[in-house]
Point group: C2
Chain length 348, copies 2
């Protein structure tokens, strides 16, 4: 098996820096768009294991990527909570029944992960089998805070009026919601491991909109609980966990203290400074600006090299973009990037 | 005159921490909405000195604020460059003639600030006279990079495909554009000082979407040139300048090196850590999360106190939000905030 990813996550030596790309199974690939068209819509694509498996594998057929990440969405959990998930084309995700007050939160049922999210585990099993131990498979979840923002706002947000409003004015209600989500995320990630996930990632897309104390209390605390629960689980204990808080560069030391194995970084945080701050405690994943892929191949190669040099020598770097790949990127640029990362990081 | 702001910007002792609020003259005030309705639209409000003066003064009639900031918009400069500014209600600003290539940039005319932006200076003079030396008046501009993003994209953006594309693939074209904008901003800020501005602020709203090297090369460098030009100008030399890069917390040391007098901080950057990093070289402005104003008065007061405590004892703090006030905030919360900041920071 290509074990560069798993070795790098454990800060062990590798022959060259592993690379995978957030949203590597996505709209920039014509074959993805074809499969999605066949599915009819995004939710059907997510919920049909054969199709989710197919799009997970697509980028690996084109590029020499060092990991597969299951095609899914962080909003499968809010959906399982019964909030009425839909996608408003061009406007993003919507929930028909957002949670706005204490009784909404108290009424929230427990999720039976295997029953309600079985389609994810089925896709995981199919994909793991199809990968035939050649490439490791990553599972993931949204962070409790990030999922809570969608569940309280009823969709995406710029201001987080309702989610932050709940946090500020009814912190106990917000904490109750975050605890309920945390329980679900732990069950979900354990089930993903049981179904074949070999590494896990928690996407805290909206932790970076919080102040330092609020980030600790309302986002990181719950991610740390998830990490602790997984590390205490016989089956999941050895599975490396990456935490990614977009805009979380101010809090790297605290994130490293959570017990996670790796920290994902967006492109605004210099890798060298990040490494100085966290030392060898965790691996670092990232962090090329995704917009560089709009540029020429020469620029892509030059920037890949700059990011590698910014990390410097030593173990524990997983190359990635600092955020998901944009839908209008030319796939040829991804080929250039993957090749450049492997070539320029080759250990002699 | 209430000189708390000017003293704090110079890191001199004050009787209590000064406060003003980004977008304090804005849609959350019913009297602003009435004046804007009278103007007919936003651009007319910006371009009619008597109305711009009126809305600048409105928040000072309600709240014990320590500064006025001229009501205007950062997009007056792209407008003066002839790009065809309009506001698409609900969608934000638009430019009819975005700059996409070398010849677009080369064709860009020089701005005659007094002729083309005379309405801003006229509003400044009217406002300064109306303030009768009771409260200091702040002038401002967008940063070259931030203005360039609007001028190249043709409006707001999430991905900066065209602006970053130009930066990556045609860096010399991007630099030529940034130099042209820099010349205009220097002229504009000098003219604002001549018209009565007693402090200046440069809003680098989109510097935080850049990598560390790109931030230095394409945003901070040009802001530093502006600071140097103003500090070398007989009339403007003593006017304190605040640089505000939203999401710029990683680069505080470099921003302080620009020669600015103060750094504006968004709410994600802890004031205490910021102060430790920049020492006494610059004052710090900020940084309460604007969404706290959606919460109860008690929470607003508690959070104001937390932000003051985070800065700690000593001189050189100007209280502000970490970003502009949202349009649906209850003005009573602003009254609570201003009072709380003054009360809790009172030096005995």
């Amino acid at each position: 098996m290509n074990d560069r990813l798993l070795k790098a996550l454990r800060r062990q030596p590798v022959d060259c820096t592993p690379i995978w790309i957030m949203r590597q199974a996505g709209r920039y690939l014509p074959e993805y768009r074809a499969t999605r068209a066949r599915a009819g819509d995004f939710l059907t694509l997510c919920k049909t294991p054969e199709l989710a498996c197919e799009v997970t594998l697509q980028p690996l057929r084109r590029f020499d990527l060092d990991a597969a990440i299951l095609f899914s969405d962080i909003l499968t959990i809010p959906d399982a909570f019964g909030l009425g998930w839909s996608i408003d084309e061009g406007m993003g995700p919507k929930f028909a029944r957002p949670l706005r007050n204490k009784s909404d939160v108290e009424r929230l049922p427990e999720i039976d992960v295997d029953a309600q999210l079985g389609y994810v585990m089925q896709a995981m099993r199919l994909t793991r089998a199809a990968l035939a131990n050649k490439t490791p498979l990553i599972g993931f979840s949204g962070s409790p805070w990030t999922l809570a923002t969608y569940m309280v706002e009823g969709g995406g947000s710029k201001e987080y009026k309702y989610a932050k409003g709940m946090m500020h004015d009814q912190p106990e209600v917000a904490r109750k919601l975050l605890r309920k989500i945390t329980v679900a995320v732990v069950d979900y990630l354990k089930a993903q491991v049981a179904a074949g996930a070999q590494a896990l990632m928690i996407f805290d897309t909206w932790g970076g909109v919080l102040t330092t104390p609020d980030y600790g209390d309302f986002s990181l605390d719950y991610m740390a609980q998830i990490v602790a629960a997984l590390k205490a689980d016989a089956t999941a204990a050895d599975i490396p966990i990456t935490l990614f808080t977009k805009g979380g560069g101010h809090w790297l030391e605290k994130i490293a203290d959570s017990g996670c194995d790796a920290i994902g970084l967006d492109w605004t945080m210099p890798l060298r400074a990040a490494r100085r701050r966290v030392g060898h405690r965790v691996a670092l994943q990232g962090n090329m600006d995704p917009t560089v892929l709009y540029a020429s191949s020469d620029k892509v190669e030059q920037e890949a090299k700059r990011v590698l040099d910014d990390f410097g020598d030593g173990d524990g770097h997983i190359f990635n973009l600092g955020h998901g790949i944009h839908p209008t990127i030319d796939p040829d640029r991804v080929a250039t990037l993957v090749d450049a990362v492997h070539r320029h990081s080759r250990r002699d």
